[in-house]
């Protein structure tokens, strides 16, 4: 039985505020007459000195958590969560609670600035000059007008996670300008999106089902407790905050955390920790698959047969055997005939046997999968992962035992398969050179157990018809699984043409910007717009990025404070703080707790400015619009308004020749999703609609045999082959920078272990990094003095370099020593912390510390900088996702 925490029930809270439950009534949409209006407005007007206003937290990259601000004489003096928000259930995390210090920050940028010193560098004084908005915008517009007329490709927009809550996307902006160049600084160390996009139809996930999962094998992932997220935030996906994790554990979920480091998830309930060598997780999941298929002979045959491409016949070249209509085929054991996968006469698809059809040998994809893992025994994986073979077998047995293959469950009158088992994967395991293959292999285990999109199994990031099949009967490829078209010479500085399924690659983009001819580009970048992103700090070895940025003739930064890219800018445009903005998110669809019971819901958070502007700053969307107008790409067909209209419903589209404000745009976006009765001026902090829990499961939308998932990735194989052929046509043997390195080996239909050389003789340790509840990235964290103080005073593993005592002894090091950690690419230093909470052979550095911009609060400069140890160079990155390997080989010595 669930228990309502916090001392009083939600209903009791509403009674206390004189409200009634209305917002959460099934099938209704809360609106301008939400009970919260009364709670909020009761003190306004009559008590001019104290007001209460609602807002949306932006202290991490997902603006999900609603807050109520107490404002005294115009100053925000308190924040607290809003219990009625199903996204956060009245809670705020440590970062959310520190948002006041983020707003009242004297290091904020207060006026537009122009650089007077044309020399650039972290150690160079830019000699800032304060200028007016008109002057600043004119300087930017004049530059952009010129290159737009000459070659619009020379404009690049570099964005990042601090964009959270804005309306105009980077893609829309450069499209309207006429440039192909937008790349993001976020994600190169966390490229977790190809596999879900190829298997479950969503950009994020799949994640465990906090309502029904009973056994979860968590490989390298934050499940909520690691970062203490209240509800949204660096949520992984599925809107899972700590409260939902706790619900799952208290309802019987056991978690096995496979990670080089103990994480708080492992300390709850019956959960346990299994230490793994980072970068070897692929070997573990291949061996688990081996044990399931070759030793236990356990898999969900009904699911594999009818909901995966397991029975699809594969030719010797790895492609499907297609019928004359181009459809993939299967062998029907019931009549011994080859049929299209969707033939209505199909009765018994064969999963195991090879056949010769018209002289061509073919085998079902499942048989190839089984054959592929034959050599990946538990003993083989034990030697690589340093997890005992006995433990690997035990994990496989636990997965098999908990899957309850064949069980069903009734949810709101609908019977669905019940598979309360989940294998989930996160950044710690995915951000390696073989990370995409690992992620595909991890998801495959769920598919073999029938635990995808059904209660208890792993879930896509959102609910709805995301399993919609394509012409091959498989979940439609989305996002990064849709290959970017090849073109030579390439047009984009992030080389999507060479990495068709990649995530954001700022590390590569800056290499290209530095030397475009080397990559075949026939133009150079003239102007970069930086907003909400930090490719210097949130990346790999920073010096080459700084050097590349120095080569860009003109940089304009829209910024909250003087971070590293802003320090390199020519013109700085200061943005409003979170409290000073209009914000409205697009609808989130998740499962949440309403009065202690799980429900499915959609919710949009809304914020109007909580307080008046303190300085001469502006809302980012208004700045984008102003620049577009002055440059000449706001109006008319193809202009920014026209591009924005793609995101707006009929009836709310913009007049192509009218100028709008941020509030206008958000109002139309809200109306597009919630109808004409709602908008930015709704007094409620969110719009919310609760629906039947059955809708949370993608199976509901495509039950039975209505869709299939890929466990054989012919799409990846073919992307690699096409890329290789296209390169060859243009005289290239491989992607520039990969000469003599394994690249196409990673474009395989079935994940395989690929041996790679290392220099462990000189660099015998591997470095790991983790987010902490205070420092999860760059969005509110190390520059916040409250978070800095708490991290420094109370978290014993932050602001230093962590090692297991056994390893430290092998290196002759003692606690408190100042040590230098070195990789082939850089070094960092700090005080040595000894802990039993990380495995031997590892160096651990928490958070994103050690900032370098002289314009930041000096507290940001403290601590070791983990990112300096990493590389983003070709030959080392993931050839598919393009991500930076996060566990570089290192050595350590006393300073």
């Amino acid at each position: 039985m669930s228990r309502q925490r916090g001392g009083m029930s939600r209903r009791r809270f509403l009674e206390l505020t004189g409200a009634v439950v209305a917002a959460a009534a099934v099938g209704q949409v809360s609106g301008s007459r939400s009970p919260l209006v009364k709670a909020a407005g009761s003190a306004t007007g009559t008590q001019p000195k104290t007001e209460y206003r609602f807002g949306v937290c932006r202290m991490c990259q997902q603006p999900y958590c609603s807050f109520k601000a107490t404002i005294q004489d115009g100053v925000v003096t308190q924040l607290e969560g809003v219990r009625e928000s199903l996204l956060s259930n009245g809670t705020l995390c440590s970062r959310g609670n520190a948002a006041i210090a983020q707003h009242y920050n004297p290091y904020r940028l207060k006026v537009p600035l122009r650089r007077r010193n044309q020399a650039k560098g972290m150690d160079v004084d830019p000699q800032w000059e304060e200028i007016s908005w008109d002057e600043a915008l004119d300087i930017v517009a004049q530059r952009l007008r010129k290159i737009r007329a000459e070659d619009p490709r020379r404009f690049v927009y570099n964005q990042g996670f601090s964009r959270a809550g804005i309306f105009i996307s980077d893609g829309a902006y450069v499209r309207a300008f006429g440039s192909p160049n937008a790349f993001r600084s976020n994600g190169p160390l966390c490229a977790t999106h190809y596999a879900p996009s190829a298997t479950v139809g969503t950009f994020l996930g799949p994640n465990f089902d906090w309502i029904h999962t009973k056994y979860c094998l968590n490989i390298g992932r934050n499940m909520g407790p690691s970062t203490g997220v209240a509800g949204g935030g660096c949520r992984g996906d599925g809107g899972i905050g700590v409260r939902y994790f706790m619900y799952a554990v208290e309802h019987g979920m056991q978690v096995v955390c496979v990670d080089p480091r103990w994480q708080p998830e492992a300390g709850v309930g019956r959960n346990r920790w299994i230490a793994v060598m980072p970068g070897t997780e692929l070997a573990l999941v291949l061996a688990l698959t081996h044990v399931l298929l070759h030793e236990l002979n356990v898999y969900d045959k009904e699911f594999v047969t009818w909901r995966t491409n397991g029975p699809y016949l594969v030719r010797p070249d790895g492609t499907y055997l297609r019928d004359r209509n181009g459809k993939p085929t299967v062998w029907d054991l019931s009549d011994g005939r080859v049929k299209a996968f969707d033939d209505p006469t199909l009765r018994t698809p064969d999963l195991e046997s090879g056949h010769v059809i018209n002289g061509t040998s073919v085998r079902p994809a499942f048989a190839l999968l089984k054959e592929n893992v034959r050599a990946y025994t538990a003993e083989w994986a034990a030697a690589i992962t340093e997890i005992p073979a006995m433990t690997i077998r035990q994990l496989a047995r636990e997965l098999a035992d908990n899957a309850q293959i064949g069980a069903t469950i009734m949810i709101d009158g609908v019977e669905m398969p019940y598979r309360p088992v989940a294998v989930i994967a996160g950044r710690g395991a995915i951000s390696h050179k073989n990370g995409t293959l690992f992620h595909l292999a991890a998801i495959t285990i769920n598919l073999l157990l029938g635990a995808v999109g059904v209660p208890g199994g792993v879930q896509p990031d959102t609910f709805g018809p995301v399993f919609k099949p394509d012409e091959d009967g498989l979940t439609t490829l989305v996002s990064e699984a849709v290959p970017h078209p090849f073109k030579y010479p390439p047009e984009r500085v992030d080389l999507k043409e060479f990495y068709p399924n990649s995530h954001h690659m700022p590390h590569l983009a800056f290499r290209v910007i530095s030397d475009p001819a080397r990559y075949g580009l026939n133009y150079s970048i003239d102007t970069m717009l930086v907003y909400g992103g930090n490719s210097i700090q949130h990346n790999c070895a920073p010096e080459p990025i700084v050097a590349s940025m120095r080569k860009i003739p003109f940089v304009v930064a829209i910024s909250y404070h003087m971070d590293e890219p802003t320090w390199m800018a020519d013109v700085v445009l200061p943005e409003d703080s979170n409290f000073e903005r209009y914000i409205a998110g697009r609808p989130e669809r998740h499962a949440g707790l309403l009065d202690g019971k799980p429900v499915a819901y959609m919710q949009t958070n809304i914020q109007r400015p909580v307080v008046a502007r303190m300085y001469n700053t502006r809302q980012p969307d208004d700045i984008f619009i102003d620049i577009a107008e002055r440059v000449g790409f706001l109006y008319g067909p193809g202009g920014l308004n026209d591009v924005i209209n793609r995101d707006l419903a009929d009836g709310y589209k913009l007049d192509l020749n009218k100028k709008y404000t941020t509030a206008d745009l958000l109002d139309r976006m809200i109306k597009s999703n919630w109808g004409p009765d709602h908008g930015i001026n709704d007094q409620s902090p969110f719009l919310q609609k609760v629906v039947s829990l059955k809708e949370r499961y993608a199976y509901f939308y495509h039950p039975g045999r209505q869709t299939r998932h890929r466990l054989y990735f012919n799409n990846l194989l073919e992307v690699g082959r096409n890329l290789k052929a296209n390169l060859k046509e243009n005289g290239l043997e491989t992607v520039p920078g990969w000469e003599g390195k394994k690249f196409f080996e990673y474009y395989t239909a079935l994940p395989v272990w690929i041996d790679e050389p290392d220099d462990r003789r000189n660099y015998p340790l591997r470095v790991i990094n983790w987010k902490t509840p205070q420092f999860i990235g760059l969005v509110g964290g190390v520059d916040n003095p409250w978070l800095h103080e708490v991290g420094k005073v109370f978290d014993p593993l932050t602001f230093g370099i962590c090692m297991n005592p056994k390893t430290a002894a092998e290196f002759g090091l003692n606690a408190g020593d100042t040590v230098v950690v070195e990789s082939r690419y850089g070094s960092t230093s700090g005080e040595l912390i000894l802990t039993q909470l990380i495995r031997p052979g590892i160096v651990g550095i928490a958070g994103n510390l050690g900032r370098t911009s002289p314009g930041l609060n000096p507290i940001t400069h403290e601590g070791p900088n983990y990112n300096r140890l990493l590389t983003g160079q070709e030959g080392d990155i993931d050839p598919i996702a393009g991500s930076i390997p996060i566990s570089e080989w290192v050595t350590v010595r006393r300073a």
Partner: protein
Amino acid sequence: MAVDLRRCIGCDACTIACKQRNGTPLGVFFSKVARREVGQYPNARMEFTPLLCMQCQNPACVDVCPTGASYVRPDGIVAVDPDKCMGCKYCIAACPYDARAFVESIGSYYPGFEPTPYEKAAYASHRAGVVEKCDFCASRVEKGELPACVQTCPAGARIFGDLDDPTSEVSGLIAERGGKQLLPEMGTNPSVYYLPA
């Protein structure tokens, strides 16, 4: 109050909620989370213990206070009257729970700058040279609200209610889970119970 050690994951949301709610100056914490590493690899783990004023029914701090500044309110909350506190710190030495803080000075979290508008507002209720502590967010509780740390806890690890009411959730949980006071041998009889992990 009951603190569920099974749920606490050491995120310090309570620590900072307390700071922003009470506007505590630099270095002053009314609420915090103690950490202790236990066991040896690979069976090691971190234990988290949230700490705040235990609102003892036999408070050692009150007993040693020479001026009567520390006192027990009728509702059981242990409070400090800053007008009577002379900053002798006897109470800090007497408190077995490290729950009290001496306010050395009240400066900005941004050295070299004027106090921020928030700090000017929040620090008005603080005074240098006196001892301060958690009062269960008495001003919130008086309005029927929860203490800030309870309200904000993402894990739902804090339960606030009436210990004198045996039917309250907090009383039920303490009975059901075998809630324990910290350092009972000190005879302070805390009003905060810890539910075992």
